[in-house]
Structure formats: structure tokens, C-alpha cells
Symmetry: C3
Subunit: 108 residues, 3 copies
Amino acid sequence: MKLVMCVVDDMDIHALLDALSEGGFQATKLASSGGFLRRGNTTLLIGVDDEKKEEVLQVIRRVCKPRKQMVPMTPMLAAEESIIPVDVMVRMGGATVFVLDVLENYKI
Amino acid sequence: MKLVMCVVDDMDIHALLDALSEGGFQATKLASSGGFLRRGNTTLLIGVDDEKKEEVLQVIRRVCKPRKQMVPMTPMLAAEESIIPVDVMVRMGGATVFVLDVLENYKI
Amino acid sequence: MKLVMCVVDDMDIHALLDALSEGGFQATKLASSGGFLRRGNTTLLIGVDDEKKEEVLQVIRRVCKPRKQMVPMTPMLAAEESIIPVDVMVRMGGATVFVLDVLENYKI
Ligand SMILES: Nc1ncnc2c1ncn2[C@@H]1O[C@@H]2COP(=O)(O)O[C@H]3[C@@H](O)[C@H](n4cnc5c(N)ncnc54)O[C@@H]3COP(=O)(O)O[C@H]2[C@H]1O
Ligand SMILES: Nc1ncnc2c1ncn2[C@@H]1O[C@@H]2COP(=O)(O)O[C@H]3[C@@H](O)[C@H](n4cnc5c(N)ncnc54)O[C@@H]3COP(=O)(O)O[C@H]2[C@H]1O
Ligand SMILES: Nc1ncnc2c1ncn2[C@@H]1O[C@@H]2COP(=O)(O)O[C@H]3[C@@H](O)[C@H](n4cnc5c(N)ncnc54)O[C@@H]3COP(=O)(O)O[C@H]2[C@H]1O
């Protein structure tokens, strides 16, 4: 079994959970937030049999479409005296995916 | 060390945390929700020495008893025109457990 | 790639996220709570290239300083009739860190 851990945009989460359920996949949803933008997002845990892992990745690719967006950032990390926001190009949508190996799994 | 990641029903979480503390195990609790029923549940992270992993699984088995329950589901995934709820037999209680390998661990 | 999963005190989280961003590291923040004290804390997920893992651990060590504190605990686990709180010496601050291996990772 593999554990697919993916961080997705809140706007895609309902469509993604529907698509996973339709495919017969089980998932657990954790509320999270991004370290950089400090905006809410969602982290999904999806335990999946090894031979079904590719299919889960395809569901995520199909539902979570990335796009680029200019976001005004107050330069928190820059020198204190400059408070004029700076536009930074960031990704919205899409998904950040980690696949971990599951040594043992149980339904108790 | 192993990381035991388990998803349990909210009704069992206090008894489970007490039983883990009593056994000398440490745990971190994350609020979560199920991908299918969209109901709140709890995900626990339990870092445990290799030789104690079986004991943690026994604590979970002792505290988290599964049962079956009929739940009316509005067929979200079915054809749109039918809004009559359908009874689906689902598991309540119990636990879904993943055991992951920890390469390194630190108490800073 | 490695997944650095660390549980830190809420008081250190802003400084830690700033220090990680400054170092060019990405992170996802999950609200969590401790199994023993039942107080809120924060669990961070940090996906990092293998050769940068040591640097992330240095950032955590630099920002999250542990200290010891006496905390009155009502002995939940002790015999029911005794309700006099008992002082227990616990760690505050610091970090509990797990390093997991990432088999595959994707930016979708
Ligand atoms: N130091 C920096 N300088 C300039 N731009 C920066 C930056 N750090 C992040 N960004 C940009 O901001 C977007 C949102 O990042 P955030 O950390 O809020 O939200 C992140 C974070 O919650 C998670 N994430 C991404 N990579 C991660 C990793 N390696 N480990 C843990 N979580 C990660 O996925 C969310 C979306 O990430 P994504 O890469 O698509 O999109 C990122 C990226 O385009
Ligand atoms: N497509 C489907 N068709 C019919 N019935 C379905 C179904 N998907 C789930 N169920 C049923 O509903 C119960 C609750 O699922 P939920 O996703 O809300 O809540 C789940 C989810 O949060 C987590 N979980 C279970 N398996 C997982 C996995 N492979 N990966 C990640 N999380 C999992 O554990 C909770 C309890 O799961 P459990 O298997 O005991 O019990 C499941 C199962 O009996
Ligand atoms: N049975 C017991 N008897 C006496 N004292 C006890 C105890 N269990 C915990 N403590 C003390 O209480 C502190 C807070 O634990 P808590 O579980 O609330 O909060 C924990 C928990 O959320 C997490 N954590 C620590 N070790 C973990 C592990 N092996 N697995 C999962 N989470 C862990 O990190 C937080 C801080 O842990 P840290 O070890 O620095 O500090 C611990 C420890 O000093």
C-alpha cells in the first residue's frame, strides 16, 4: 500500500473528493494552510493499493488544474521600513503530492 | 522508529488518548473528516519505538470497536434527478491504521 | 526527497515559518494538539530535497528552543478519589521531528 499525501486548493476539494469516491478510493481530509501565503488549503491522506496508485494520481491531475496569479505580498521578509506591497507570481490550484510507502495497514 | 497514523471516530478519541498515555505512548491529534461521509473524525500521529509498535496496535484494537450502521445518503454520485435518500451500510467506530517507517527522529 | 514532519509549540510557529521561507523551504501547517497536555500545538509538513534536509533541521533547532515547566495536572489517569492537582515537569517549546522517505513527489 502507498499513502498519497496531497496539498490542494480549497476550491478543488469537493470535486476531488467526489471524483475519488466515484473511483472507489477512500480519503481523509485535514484542514491546513500554506507556509508562504498563510492562506487556508487542504491536505488529503489517501491510502491506496500499490497497483491503483497511478489511477489516484490521474484523478488528481484531472481535477486540480494549476494557474498562475499575481499576489500582492507585504514584504515580511524584507527590510522593515518598506511597506509598499510587492507583486509576486504564485501558483493557485494544482496540487503538491508526496507518495509514501506504507509498511503495514489495518482496518480495525 | 515507526509512525502509526490512525483515523478514528471522535467518540473513541478520549478513551484512546487516555489508554495511550497510560501505556507511556506519546501522540498528536489532528482534526480531520472522512472523504465519503464528510463527517468529522480524528487522525492520530503516534511515533513509537519499533519494539513497541505491536503494543500500540493492541491499545487501538482494545479501545476502537467497529460496528455497522445504515446511513441515509443522498446519492451525490448518482444521476441528478433522483433525490430520494438511499440507505448505505457503513462502518462506524473502528480505526483505519497506516504504519510508516521513520528514517530519523529528534527531540529538539 | 524527504518529508520532515515536526510538532512545534504555537509560540514558535510564526518565527519558524518566516525562517523556512527565508531559507527557500516550503511548508504546510496543520493545527494539532498534544495527546498528554491536550493543549493546541502545530504540526508542519516540509517536503525537502535530500541534500537540504540537514539545513531544515538546523532552522528548526535555531528557532525552537525547549524549556522545562511545571504544569499542574489533575491526575486523570490516577485513582478517581484524588482531585488534588499534581505538578508534572514537562517540556515546552522545542520540537518533535520525524523524517520520512518520499518515494515520489509531483507538482501538478
Ligand atoms: N519562498 C517563496 N517565494 C516565492 N513564491 C513562493 C515561495 N514559497 C511558496 N511560493 C509560491 O506560493 C504558493 C503558495 O505557497 P504556500 O506555502 O502558501 O502553500 C503551499 C504549501 O501549503 C504546499 N506545499 C508546496 N510545496 C510544499 C513542500 N515542499 N512541502 C510542504 N508543503 C508544500 O502547497 C501549497 C501550494 O504550493 P505551490 O508550490 O503550488 O505554490 C506556492 C508557490 O507558487
Ligand atoms: N465509496 C464508498 N462506498 C460505500 N461505502 C463507503 C465508501 N467509502 C467509504 N465508505 C464507508 O463509509 C465509512 C466512512 O468513510 P469516510 O470516508 O467518511 O471516513 C473514513 C476515512 O476518513 C478514513 N479512511 C478509511 N480508509 C482510508 C484510506 N484508504 N485512506 C485514507 N483514509 C481512509 O477512515 C474513515 C472510516 O473508514 P471506514 O472504512 O471504517 O468506513 C467507511 C466505509 O465503511
Ligand atoms: N505520559 C507522560 N508522562 C509525563 N509527561 C509526559 C507524558 N507524555 C508527554 N509528556 C510531557 O508533556 C509534554 C507535552 O506532551 P503533549 O502530548 O501534550 O504534546 C506533544 C505531542 O503533541 C508531540 N509528540 C511528542 N512525542 C511524540 C510522539 N512520539 N508521537 C507523536 N507526537 C509526539 O509533541 C508535543 C510535545 O512533546 P514533548 O515530548 O516535547 O513534551 C511532552 C512531555 O514533556
